[in-house]
């Protein structure tokens, strides 16, 4: 049995892998693809802003890599088994990872300013656990701190510096990156350890600041780089562009001259306008020498810019830059800016790396093979549409869906088994016929229709009841102020949170319950009838066992077995049904989450959602199989 369970659990892994791969491919290869919504929304932005946006998407999703690589990266994050260094986890659950490498600007060192010979090195930060601990009786709350000034500064020293000096504030500098944190001491009154200035800089703030600065520097660099690339493109296309312009002018000139040759009904004024235009066009035409120069330039740089506007850096480097060309200074200028921005971004990146290397936050998971393999909680990423971690979103939505389903399930079994039993016992009589018709009708009413009609007729002021007796949404108004259990005070009944929530859930629960009820009722009846005609029942009857005992002790027990397997049929259907129910009744569960994720093309949220739902479903199926084996000693999985 144990080995069977283990085998089934292991089989979940390839299934989940396959499903996520399928969904990932579907999302990535679909027209528009991931991030399309974001990229489309940036259509009207300034070029710099767009560059920043692209930098953001690139850093976060690595959209330029092949799809399989992207999937592998996602998998590595989600996998509970991690290789190499352990990640850090911020208190809010976000996983921190070292920033990705940054490519240098195109043609650096060849066409303009060279890159720095020695890249910046990461400054040494030091976070010490001891420094976080602050005596419990210390006024001003817990002391989170960061002090870096060559040497490590302890909490005591910090207190001494702040509380002891007259300066109301303090400044901490790091060697690489200027002012790193500024804190304000609010414990102005000095005393021997009695008052401690609360330093507002926590590890979290320090990390966030470093990471924000890097993000900003990176975006600046990307913008500068795109300006430079634009300049390079303009330079490489210079000859072709000039010739094209020249040809356009020439064509227009021919047209205007033809117009003058046959003035027709043109007024004197119009003729004057055309003549002025001709003069203007003539002055813009290139001389023969200029044409030759442009043609030479065009031939020289032919093919260095691809059809998709990509720069072929290798070819350009080989050809070289004409220093006396009119556009050369702009390349030098933009190049210098790009290199500066690049250097700045590198410095900030190293700063961030140094910060992370000092491990300001606890590490995720635990080592299996120290230094190489660790096991940690899967990192589901950050939802870009909601801006919070996927884990927290699912953490809120999954319990809602599971709660609905877990309430619905016992109800289904409790209602379906007795009615099915009764129908089987009364086979062919009135109750059987009525329940048979009801079952078929219930089974055929689609959940979406039933939900909409219930919402319209029951949860509406103008509905059948004249008043809205069934509020929708799951959270009652004023839930914070409610007590949990019902009570009565001042002769008035207060439902409390529990009853109030149940009241809100009535209609969604009905919508979830009735299809399963129909299926299970039918199955119970069929399986009871099957057993009624079995030999052992006839034997029992022949022995003179009481009818009641035959039904409840013999037949019912044996009929229950197939009902356990029905779990495997009903559960996925109910998960599907809860999408609709949640949507109609405005419940913030997994169904609503996944529909929102797909509408916003939120890849992380979508994949995590699919993965969780798949796992829940597979575990439920496994549970059904185990229960079956436990209930029926004839079944063994070994």
């Amino acid at each position: 049995m144990t080995s069977y369970i283990i085998r089934r659990l292991l089989l979940i892994v390839p299934t989940v892998l396959g499903i996520t791969f399928m969904i990932f491919m579907l999302v990535a290869l679909s027209p528009g693809g991931i991030g399309a919504a974001l990229q489309a929304s940036s259509g009207s932005m300034e070029q710099t802003d767009r560059a920043r946006q692209e930098a953001y998407l690139e850093e976060r999703y690595g959209l330029k890599d092949p799809v399989v690589v992207q999937y592998g990266r996602w998998l590595a994050r989600v996998s509970p088994i991690k290789f190499g260094r352990r990640d850090l986890i911020r208190p809010d659950g976000e996983v921190i990872r070292a920033p990705r490498p940054l490519g240098p600007p195109v043609l650096a060192g060849d066409w303009y300013a060279a890159l720095p010979a020695a890249p910046p090195t990461a400054p040494d930060y030091e976070f010490s656990d001891a420094d976080v601990e602050v005596p419990a009786d210390a006024p001003g709350g817990p002391l989170h701190w960061l002090v870096v000034d060559g040497a490590k500064v302890s909490a005591g020293q910090a207190i001494a510096e702040i509380g002891g000096g007259d300066a109301p504030g303090f400044t901490v500098r790091s060697p690489g990156a200027g002012v790193l944190s500024q804190g304000v001491s609010d414990g102005a009154q000095a005393g021997a350890g009695a008052s401690i200035g609360r330093i507002t800089e926590s590890r979290d703030d320090a990390y966030r600041r470093a990471s924000d600065r890097y993000a900003f520097a990176r975006a600046e660099y990307i913008a500068a780089r795109s300006h430079l690339e634009e300049a390079v493109r303009a330079y490489a296309n210079w000859g072709a562009d000039r010739l094209g312009e020249h040809n356009t002018f020439q064509r227009r000139l021919t047209e205007r001259r033809a117009l003058l040759d046959d003035p027709g009904e043109m007024s004197q004024e119009q003729i004057g306008q055309v003549e002025a235009e001709i003069a203007d066009l003539e002055s813009r035409l290139l001389s023969d020498a200029e044409i030759a120069a442009a043609e030479a330039h065009r031939d020289k740089y032919r093919g260095t810019i691809s059809r998709d506007n990509d720069i072929r850096a290798g070819a350009l480097r080989r050809i070289g830059l004409e220093r006396d060309h009119p556009l050369a200074p702009s390349i030098g200028e933009y190049g210098q800016q790009a290199v500066d921005a690049y250097q700045h971004a590198l410095a900030e990146r190293e700063n961030l790396i140094g910060m992370i290397r000092a491990r300001p936050f606890p590490s995720a998971g635990f080592w299996v093979v120290p230094g190489y393999v660790s096991i940690g909680w899967p990192d589901l990423g950050v939802s870009f549409s909601r801006g919070s971690s996927v884990q927290s979103l699912i953490g809120k939505a999954l319990p809602v869906t599971l709660m609905l389903n877990c309430i619905a399930f016992p109800v289904i079994y409790m209602l379906a088994v007795p009615t099915g039993l009764l129908a089987a016992v009364q086979k062919g009589r009135l109750f059987d016929h009525i329940s048979g018709i009801a079952v078929v009708a219930l089974w055929s009413i689609p959940v979406v229709v039933a939900s909409v009609l219930m919402l319209g007729y029951l949860a509406n002021r103008s509905g059948l009841l004249g008043e809205n007796h069934f509020p929708t949404g799951l959270d009652p108004a004023g839930a914070e102020a409610m007590s949990f259990l019902p009570y009565s005070a001042d002769g008035k009944f207060h439902p409390g949170l529990l009853l109030s929530k149940l009241h809100h859930m009535v209609l969604p629960l009905i919508a979830l319950i009735y299809p399963g009820l129909a299926v299970l009722n039918k199955q119970t009846r069929a399986s009871m009838l099957d057993n009624f005609s079995a030999d052992y029942v006839r034997t029992a009857k022949a022995k003179g066992v009481a009818g009641q005992d035959v039904v409840f002790r013999h037949v019912l027990r044996n009929s229950l077995l197939p009902l356990i397997t029905m779990f495997a049929t009903i559960f996925p259907a109910m998960l599907s049904g809860s999408i609709i129910v949640e949507r109609v009744f405005n419940i913030q569960g997994m169904g609503t989450l996944i529909v929102e994720a797909i509408n916003l093309r939120d890849r992380e949220l979508l994949l995590a959602n699919v993965m969780i739902i798949t796992c829940v479903n597979l575990l439920a199926l496994l549970l059904a199989d185990i229960l079956y084996a436990l209930a029926d000693p004839r079944i063994s999985y070994s």
Partner: protein
């Protein structure tokens, strides 16, 4: 057991062995269907499904805002002709200039309807290539006015059919091939060369499929050439005169090439003849309807103004027809537009509670009444009624005003039998037109699922071993995730159109068919006939699909009837969630309009489409159950 016939004749054992006295052997499926027809619920279900299929085929003919027949009524006078000549000539003069020849063309067109129209040569004499000035145009127009030969005759012009003009290629294809196919199927055997009915049914289906393929190809090609980011050469090509016929017949040829390989008829000449004939008809249909004129539903307006006479089909509303007045939003069943029109007048009176209405407000209401888009006699009557009832009074209540106007307007406009949705589109028309989406979604998606499932399942069941293990992992993958989740993801990400949606639903729901086929093939694999087929060296496709499949496909086909119901349901749910094909009437989409955002509930938007979904699903379930009972009596015993 030998059965004696009615006369109780004794027969010998040998005769009995030869089958004498026993009922004639019938096909497996014929027997099964006989059982189904004995069940009243299943028959009712079949009737409903047939009704839905009927509307699916003919809804564009039965429910359309375009009149079936329309007569234009001649109202033109020489004043109108002169004015429109001046207008058009003025436009042309501002651009490239106008010659006498151009002026003659315009005039001829303007006066084409008049047999005794003045000869244009008299009106615009001179060298045809000579340019005209604005003064010339004015002179010609004056002369047209003076001729006074054009008088409003009030005569009706020859009838046209906007309805047929606005039918699209799929409508025509269904009309032509649906009728032809049914005729071919039902025709007496003598007429069509004594072929068997099943062969003819197959031929009709093949012809229909070929035409459908042509239409789909044409739609795809048309969409490619007119998409927003089409390359320049495509745009240029699309503008050429030869493009449409060439593209239409290219599509028809591609479809014909595929279907020329289907061995339906024994004689190759007949086969090629049929295929070429279908290609010619389908190509003509596609070419003729390549560019459907954009529909504008101003017929009612023109009818009121006396410009046209029109005869409509059963339901004079198109699903996409939206009223011009915005107040005609959600109308309950049976309501005409008079309430909306009454609202226009009512709006002049301040709502009660704000302030007393003044006589000036009533004047404003009268003014608005004179502007209503209804025939002039109605307008005058309403205006007079308001003046006599409320004129010179203050404190008129808006509701009193509205009921008065409604009273006067009674009978103006056509009613919506099942009301309208929030865009003012007719609900019944949408429901009827949505039948096509539902039926085609059910059939195509399930057909696709069966094809994929049977192929995968037969491979798994026949080979077993590692092929089975590998492919079964794929099946498990699809079983592991609730189908609706997968559907929502795929439908949300992929382009939203009908064909993609069919493909999505088919590709997501195939695993049931695969599991059934796998189980059947595993049983069949070791049977003698398969062994012998293998031992004589038949090719694999022949063993799988010719020998094993007919013996193992029954459960799949029975399951398919439930699959159709499920596919229709999935389409409704996706449309409900807003993931369905846009601009396509759908039951789910109408349903999603039922619960308004302000908490109002428009019951007719919930009950009618919901009822349609429910009845269709129920019917298919009934038929499926009856079929399963007929084919698998063991299951029936367990169920009764």
């Amino acid at each position: 057991m030998p059965q004696a016939d009615a006369t109780n004749q004794t027969i010998t054992g040998i005769q009995a062995f030869q089958g004498e006295g026993a009922p004639a052997a019938r096909g497996f499926w014929a027997d099964a269907w006989d059982h189904v027809f004995k069940q009243p619920t299943a028959v009712l279900g079949l009737i409903w499904v047939g009704l839905v299929a009927f509307f699916a085929a003919f809804a564009p003919l039965l429910a359309s805002g375009h009149p079936l027949i329309q007569w234009e009524i001649d109202q033109r006078t020489s004043q109108d002709a002169a004015a429109s000549f001046e207008r058009e000539a003025g436009v042309r003069l501002g651009g490239a200039g106008l010659t006498i020849a151009d002026a003659r063309l315009i005039l001829d067109r303007e006066m084409a309807r008049q047999a005794d129209a003045p000869r244009t040569a008299d009106l615009a004499p001179g060298d045809p290539e000579a340019p005209l000035t604005a003064a010339d145009v004015g002179a010609i127009a004056d002369r047209v006015r003076q001729t006074a030969a054009l008088d409003a005759t009030g005569a009706t012009l020859p009838p046209t059919s906007p309805l047929l003009k606005h039918l699209r290629a799929p409508d025509w294809a269904i009309l032509v091939f649906g009728v032809a196919g049914i005729a071919l199927w039902l025709a007496p055997a003598g007429l069509v060369g004594g072929t068997r009915r099943s062969t003819r049914l197959g031929a009709a289906a093949a012809m229909g499929l070929q035409a459908a393929l042509t239409v789909v190809l044409a739609i795809a090609v048309g969409a490619y050439f007119t998409r927003r980011d089409a390359p320049d050469w495509a745009r240029e090509m699309e503008g050429q005169a030869w493009f449409i016929p060439a593209a239409a017949f290219a599509c028809a040829a591609v479809a014909a090439l595929l279907f020329a390989l289907v061995p339906l008829f024994k004689s190759a000449a007949v086969r090629i003849g049929v295929v070429v004939g279908v290609a010619a008809i389908a190509g003509t249909i596609v070419g003729a309807t390549w560019k459907t004129p954009p529909g504008s539903f101003d017929y009612m307006q023109r009818e009121r103004l006396g410009e046209i006479k029109a005869v409509y089909t059963l339901l004079p509303w198109s699903p996409s027809q939206r009223p011009s007045d915005r107040d005609a939003g959600v109308l309950p069943p049976g309501m005409t537009h008079d309430q909306a029109l009454a609202n226009v007048v009512r709006a002049a009176i301040p709502p009660s509670g704000l302030r007393e209405s003044t006589p000036r407000d009533v004047e404003e209401a009268v003014r608005r009444a004179r502007l209503l888009p209804v025939p002039s006699e109605y307008r005058d009557r309403i205006a007079t009624a308001i003046e006599t009832e409320f004129g010179g009074r203050s404190g008129v209540s808006p509701s009193a005003l509205r009921s008065l106007v409604e009273e006067e307007l009674r009978g103006v406009g056509r009613s919506h039998p099942l009301g309208t949705d929030s865009f003012g589109q007719d609900v019944l028309s949408q429901i009827l037109h949505a039948c096509r989406l539902a039926i085609s979604m059910g059939l195509v998606a399930t057909g696709l699922a069966v094809v994929i499932g049977v192929t995968m399942g037969s491979l798994m069941g026949y080979f077993g071993g590692w092929v089975d293990m590998l492919l079964y992992r794929v099946v498990e993958m699809f079983m592991a995730i609730p189908v609706l989740f997968l559907l929502i993801v795929a439908a949300g990400v992929l382009p939203r159109n009908t064909y993609v949606m069919m493909a999505i639903i088919g590709c997501v729901t195939w695993h049931g068919a695969a599991r059934f086929t796998r189980a059947e093939f595993m049983k069949l694999r070791s049977q003698d006939f398969v062994q012998s087929a293998r031992s004589v060296g038949l090719p694999l496709p022949s063993i799988l699909f010719k020998h094993m499949l007919p013996n193992g496909v029954t459960p799949v086909l029975v399951d398919a009837s439930f699959g159709i119901a499920a596919a229709i349901l999935f389409e409704a749910v996706l449309s409900y969630l807003g993931l369905g094909p846009p601009d396509q009437p759908s039951w789910g989409r109408v349903l999603s309009d039922a619960a308004g955002e302000t908490g109002t509930f428009n019951w007719w938007l919930g009950v009618f489409p919901g009822g349609a979904i429910f009845l269709t699903v129920l019917s298919l379930t009934m038929v499926g159950q009856a079929l399963r009972d007929a084919i698998d009596p063991k299951l029936k015993k367990a169920r009764v």
